[in-house]
Amino acid sequence: MRWISVLAAGGLVAAGMFVVPAVPAPEEKRLSIYSPVANYALNVTERNGQDYVGLVEILEPLGQVTAKTDGQKWKLRFNKKDADFKANNPTARVQGKPIDLTKNFVLENGRGLVPLNSLTTLLPSFLGIPVIFHVTARRLFIGQAATHYSAEFNKAQPKLVLNFTSAVNPTIATEPGKVRMSFVRDPLLPSGPETTDFDSKVISSTTFQENNGVAELTINGSVPLLASFSNNGRTITIAPAPSSVQAPAASTASPATPAPGASTLPLITASPSPEGPPPAPIRRVFAVLDASHGGDDRGAAIGQFAEKDVTIAFARRIREELQNRGIPALVLRDSDATLSLDQRASLANGTRSQIYLAVHASSEGLGVRVFTALMPAGGANSGPFLAWDNAQLQFLPAAQSAAQSLAAELRKKLPVRMASAPMRPLNNLTMPALALEVATQTGDTAELTSPIYQQLVASAVADGIVAARDKLGAPH
């Protein structure tokens, strides 16, 4: 009987599924890429025993990329730079210059795969900035993208305070006497040695490791440990679980070092251990200055200059003036890079700073215009989630208050207008967001490129932000 044999076979297969022990699938190889624009991970493909990765997938988050196949040839265009690849050929040409890929280029169904080892030579030719590739860990750092950490151990309490140069979001796993923190999206690097030993049984050491696109920080101890976040994700404190504090604490004797609190502008120390060199103070970013336009987007024409060049000059001067007043500030576009409005919003939101200021320049009108966001229709915020188009809504009163402080200071020197403007990325930001449009004082566009005028405006803007600081201080 045929149907009986079919049933029997099906039953055997089903039984086999339960009986045969599951063989763990090999871990998928991943490449993590960290850049000032975006942090992301890609799957690594193996071809002929070598690791390959899709080139378009790497470049897509970094700019505008298109690719087309012409027989065995593959042409790629990234931010107006042309590159030619040929299937099964180890040499590519970027802007006509030959690049050695070390292994053959692979073309599969229109998808171009390049050897992982070629990224250190290939990417700088597209991006114009150096990259650092941790080959064995498959972690690629573009430009200055890196988050460093320092460990500060307090024997008296006892607790370990880990300070990070920017906010981090690790996955934390605890096991007896160990806390493992996995940083998938954070470009974490140690500022000192990979292993730091503490003279304590409670928390004995920290170890940094990186593997398969992930950085892992392990804190070893002899008691159950707990991790807690503070300082807007820039500080992680590791302390014994409450029931295990008493006994081991008695074994430590060195003086206590205060841990950074959750104040709005905490000082962060950078020393691997209490016995190390004196800490170098690093401050959290309070203001993000976005030099508008840049790269392909030249902005308005200002005399013989492009708006993008004028805005960066103003942004850098404002940063300097703020830093002179003790306010840490970051220029979001500190080079001639093309950044989309979404990228600007994501980067600014990632800094968790207290104020965002987009700097624009115009040859129309006189003085300075200070704008807050004109919110678009729809997309109401609901519960813990913020609608992208209306993320600014809850920060608008603070932004308007800051705009008034800024306008008051500017008015002492220049004509000022205040308005709300329908412009992005103001409405996408999760901090009080302002835009500044700097026009001339007398109608002469040359003023906008004059260091004296730039200094006058930058100084007034910095005074305005100082005046608004108390209103902006509350962490969000």
């Binding site: 902005g299 409005l341 040859s363 129309e364 004109l374 678009p376 229709a377 992005r424």
Partner: protein
Amino acid sequence: MIPRHLKIGIAILLVAVLVAAFYLRRMRGRAATPVPRVADSRPIAPPVAGPTEQVTLFVAYDDAGILRPQSTRLTLPSGRQQRAQELLRALLGIYLDQPSPHPIPAGSEVRAVYLVEPNLAVIDTNAAFADGHRSGIFVEELTVTSLVQTLAANIPGINRVKILVDGKERETLAGHADLSALYDTAAVSKAVEQLGSSQ
């Protein structure tokens, strides 16, 4: 001998056939006669003459940096959509005049205004309008708010406005004013008030 009821039946049938033939002949004649075209009341071009209506255009003035409500009389068609188009064309006409309070590029045009939902108006401008527009937050804001405010003030029931360029969505007007989102007419109205008060 034919029964009487059969005779009556045949007679009725004959009468019916005759009436039907007559009716058919008449219908055929009517079908052959061309039907005179009913005049289309919808204007195919904006009327150049006829009764005028009082409307308020919100005109941008670069020198003062504000929108000024300007009452004027226009000859408008009866449909809401066509009225919206004519209003905005009149507004752009002011900007295209010499001297202009808020110059816009030559050839700028409102291609159409669509009232796609009862409360949503979509303004479709041409490429000349956006491509040649002066770049700057303030100057672009004046243009956008004057279009939205003029529409909201004269076409009742519109509370959201979308601006397209050549029928397509565009990120910004000339690098600054956001065209990707829908404009809330109430928010624009407040922004216009703010412009006037911050002068």
